[in-house]
Amino acid sequence: MAEYQKVYGIGGEFDSAGSLMQAAEKIRDLGFKKWDVHTPFPVHGMDAAMGLGKSWLSGPVLVGGATGTLTAALLTFIPSWGIYPMIVHGKPFDWRVLPAFFPIFFELTVLFAAFSTVIALLVMDQLPKWYHPVFNWDHFKKVTDDGFFIVIEARDPKFSEVKTRELLESLGGKHVTLIQD
């Protein structure tokens, strides 16, 4: 069967988090955009080494938190001051009873912020995802154990099957492999 195989990118394995970081800095400085590093554990300073900016996660968290506070305010004010005013513990039912609602403000702010964090995180990471081309590369299984990988994607404008392979090898990459989509 004549099969057309699309190239996803080129991956290389590195010895340690340190050499991976050094290679990442070089690739960043060469101007590559569509590439990623894969490690068994988070590596401090890797975001700077890869040239990643500040994540936009904080935006959705702020919006979620503010929505939570507003929801809590409406949930407490409307019944207590509007549709069903009731005297509890001899406390008045005007703004002076506000401290009693603070725990609700706090809890709903945290809850909504947490929800929006998780949802935004799934969106950012494009999860759930059932297929990814890097798993076509057998050697990549080591990434959950002791493997440190860099994968440069074919859709990067600077990508070239020959030159990118040479680049990864010159940076100390081992088992440099062409990954099929």
Binding site: S16, A17, G18, S19, M21, Q22, H44, G45, A48, K54, S58, H89, G90, P99, A100, F102, P103
Partner: protein, 400 residues
Amino acid sequence: MSNTHDIPVPHPEKLDSKQFSSLKSLFLFAGGAGLLISLIGLFVPSLREQFAFSWLFGFSYFFTICLGCIFWTCLHHATDSDWSVVVRRQFENLSSLVPYFALFFIPILICAGILFKWWNLSPGDDPLLDGKSGFLNKPFFIIRAVLYFAVLSAFAFYLKKHSTLQDSDGNVSRSFSMRKLGVGGIPAVALGITFSGIDWLMGLNYHWFSTMWGVYLFAGAAGSSMSLLVLLITALKARGYLKVVNAEHYHTMGKFMFAFSVFWAYIGFSQYMLIWYANIPEETTYYITRNTGGWWYLSVLLVVGRFLLPFAVLLLQWSKKAPKFLSVVAIWILVMQLVDIYVVVLPALHGEGLSPSIFDFTSLVGIGGILGWILIRKVESSNLFPTKDPRLAASLKLTN
């Protein structure tokens, strides 16, 4: 990563004593003048009551912040922290001020009869006091005060001693000794700030009690001492020292300032809400006094200034990474801590409403000036950061 990202070992830095000589004499002069005017209050009977409360206010402000500094030093060692190695020496300098508070405590002891109503009561006068007399009695009060100063001074002294000796001999085993001191020091500071708070601040009205009192004082003190550290580091950097401290260290310090602004509000509100909701007269007296007259404005200022404002400002990432901006926030937090201690102490005297006195100012300047003068001498006496700490390299390349 040390194999690829080698950072040259920084040279030891020492403060040039000439550079700060004018600031030192300013502190000494202001402190001396403040003490002198305050002491007039001690010796003139008609002014003594106002003096006693004002002095307790100034004393408590600096004492709680100093205890916060011991806490941070201990926490650094107990958790084997990397990030704080370059700023740790300044915490050690601030911590080692604690024995001098024993001297500043003498006027409080002299005025104890004015400050603490239980001091002059005899058994049988008040059944509420009789129930508490196992704790609230003169000999035990003095024994406790001696214990606070002795134990906390010992921790501060040995932590600094090991740290400065390591500068010269580079002995790694000192880090292990300091870790043991740190683990022991955290409960010592916790007990010290709780029981001294109960003795000297909650004891202003022996009827009143709150189980959150110690945590409340600690929350305010820990955030304020981190703010004080930011100011001290910025002052040293402005004169060209401590180039090893970078925006990443400021970011971490800013995060702690943020965390403890939130923690203070959490504890302060928890204390308030339980008392407000239960509505028991014995407990509500504290807040009724502080929510009437001029005190109401200061209480509201605390909610806005000690929590809402720092919370909103420090939530942004850039504000924690900008040393100058963070220093302004640090000054603001220290002023708010001042308001907090003021609202704790002075309403016990002026229950009818806010009534500022010159002694509030002079005791603050007096104690603060003398402590500032001693602090500069302490900073001069050793390297500005631990030069042979095994975790120095990790601290230099901190990334958040």
